[in-house]
Symmetry: C2
């Protein structure tokens, strides 16, 4: 392999770690009976690419937003990026970089070498139709099928990755503290203002950016599962839902907390408590060796027993956690019904409980955990039962 010394930031991932990952994935492809991997990542969902190189595509409506990694079970990886990103990608990648203009032709050459067999596709849920068509054009007799091989390998985080995620989680905690401190001054705040206060706190602490657009929803709007902030002013007695995360270098945090604002009804206080109890049950139960579906059942059943079943998507079986790391949402491990994936030490994922009662309010309590030999390390530290 033609290895160059990439420009690695001091707190980042070393070239050796990147190259070790290439070897690990190649061996897993072989075991899975695949002749190779086509991994897609874009500017915003970049984990399939960022696992192998510090390169991340740029914002845009064209190929500048896209990247493909082609990895053969028996050859060196090739990274495909737009012409405009070529010099940048070359400067931070320890293996060959080519233009996306050549991707169909290079897949064709790969097909000519391998004859037949199946190539795994990572990122099948969000690869653009136009780019998939270009890959298909070169496949020849090879089959292309979605694979979880890469997702399952990158679900297990290294010490270097966990250190970056701890930092991202601490920055996210600081955003919640900034919201708390702002509200202590007694002045009226809108949802948008609080989201901005959270964002400013993360950047002030050294976050590279927000991991995603911060959500702050108040009063009846806190009963929407996902929403962007508006100019609604917080009213005493409101329930508030927040979903906030920081990006620190290549890694992110995805955290959620809700709180009551001012004098709160017993019903609203109970909603906050029920979500906290459900997540606590998951934190207490999580162990390496469990199936993801078993851990999901613990949180799901706690929500069912809390009498909020009809108001909780997690209680209704939509899953109680997901992988996280380089992207806010990574495909594995999905903590949900029917998923027999065995949880392993150093997997990092969220555990969450959302309760949304129409016309009353709601919240999502979402923690980030690393599985340890005997249980979990929570990467975020902010308390879960908040009344401000």
């Amino acid at each position: 392999m033609n290895i160059r010394t990439a420009n690695i930031p001091p707190e980042g991932i070393t070239t050796d770690e990147f190259l070790g990952r290439v070897a690990k994935v190649r061996s897993a492809l072989d075991k899975a009976g695949l002749v190779g991997l086509l991994a897609f990542g874009d500017c915003w969902r970049g984990a399939n690419i960022s696992y192998f190189t510090e390169f991340r595509p740029l914002d845009g409506v064209s190929d500048i937003a896209n990247a493909i990694l082609l990895l053969s079970v028996d050859g060196d990886p090739v990274l495909f990026v737009s012409d405009q990103c070529f010099d940048y990608a070359t400067s931070v990648t320890a293996f060959e970089v080519r233009s996306l203009r050549e991707v169909a032709q290079q897949v064709q050459a790969f097909s000519a070498r391998h004859g037949s067999g199946t190539v795994g596709l990572a990122g099948a849920a969000y690869i653009p139709a136009d780019l998939l068509q270009r890959l298909n054009a070169g496949l020849g007799k090879l089959k292309l099928e979605p694979t979880m091989v890469l997702a399952e390998i990158k679900a297990i985080k290294s010490d270097a990755e966990v250190a970056l995620m701890r930092k991202a989680a601490a920055l996210t905690d600081s955003a919640m503290a900034a919201i708390r401190d702002a509200l202590a001054d007694g002045r009226p705040y809108t949802e948008r203002e609080l989201a901005l206060i959270a964002d400013r706190a993360m950047l002030a602490g050294g976050a590279e950016r927000t991991a995603f657009d911060s959500m702050v929803q108040s009063g009846p709007r806190s009963a929407y599962n996902l929403a962007r902030p508006t100019d609604r002013i917080l009213q005493p007695g409101d329930l508030i839902m927040t979903d906030i995360g920081a990006r620190y270098r290549g890694y992110v945090a995805d955290g959620g907390r809700g709180f009551t604002y001012g004098p709160a009804s017993p019903e609203k206080t109970a909603i906050v408590a029920a979500a906290a109890r459900a997540v606590e049950a998951g934190l207490a139960a999580a162990r390496p060796g469990m199936a993801a579906m078993e851990l999901n059942a613990v949180i799901q059943q706690a929500l069912v027993k809390s009498n909020y079943e009809q108001y909780s998507s997690e209680a209704r079986g939509h899953g109680t956690g997901h992988g996280t790391g380089m992207d806010p949402e990574e495909e594995a491990p999905w903590i949900g019904p029917g998923n027999r994936t065995v949880l392993q030490e150093n997997m990092v994922f969220t555990l969450k409980a959302t309760i949304t009662v129409p016309n009353v309010g709601g919240l999502r309590t979402e923690r980030i955990v690393r599985l340890t030999s005997g249980g979990v390390e929570t990467l975020d530290q902010f308390p879960m039962e908040l009344h401000w």
Copy 2:
């Protein structure tokens, strides 16, 4: 049409304006011989959706990131979003909202009503393969073809839109001022630190977020067309490239400036001047009634004459500007060779010149302009020839 009063922010777009746009697009579809429109937008490239509603999808690897608008030439629009975004979308949209789970079935019902004909697809360059497959599944005898009808209508901005873009451009100017002020203290700064200073300045001024990840590239890295910032410390004598933009409510700015840092060689000073002269030529020439290719030729020829032809992608015919507004890059108008689109009053687009000399450095000078009856209004005001 079942019109509800949406929750419109004071500086934003009114429900009447949103509904007027629906009528305008419907009429243009009819003229273009299309029976309807399927418009795709995601969390990051949302203009095809944001043109009709304040709703913007959320960050994710699933349908929460996606939205589809189905518009018939003779019926009301329907917005399709994920279940998790449904309540939020309903609360800010003046027409029917449905779940993306139903999109194939609804396209099928549309097909049953229309029999045959062609439906235009907006966002064909970046719609996910998985979602396109679901649309195709319902099409029946209808044909689906990429269309520029929506892109060309939304290229012309209203007064309300231009006001929001002026604000976004002013916030972007403030980021450049913050970089200048930081450098004045004489201490060493890394590219990442300067990008963070720019981001903090935009949020401090009230930006909703950055429009895209800020680019700051120094020394030899300033000769990369597009790149993310690193830990490289600026060195006296460097050329610096920046590409920065703010988002203010639904609208963005996309600006670029470069500068020399400390004592600069005549060659580097000449690069900054050549880019400024080329963009100035475009600003002076731009008029309603011109073809986009004619305006492109003015900047392209200025770059060719400057002797940097081989180091400038714009000089080599890759286009000297693009639409902007709700997304940093919008498809129309593209200011490039061969584009016969006639430029019209109140079109908003960028005009740019990139010069990148390997091992020396480079910059991109990019302005945001609105076409007026007699020429251009520049929405950003920061000077173009900078030596700090």
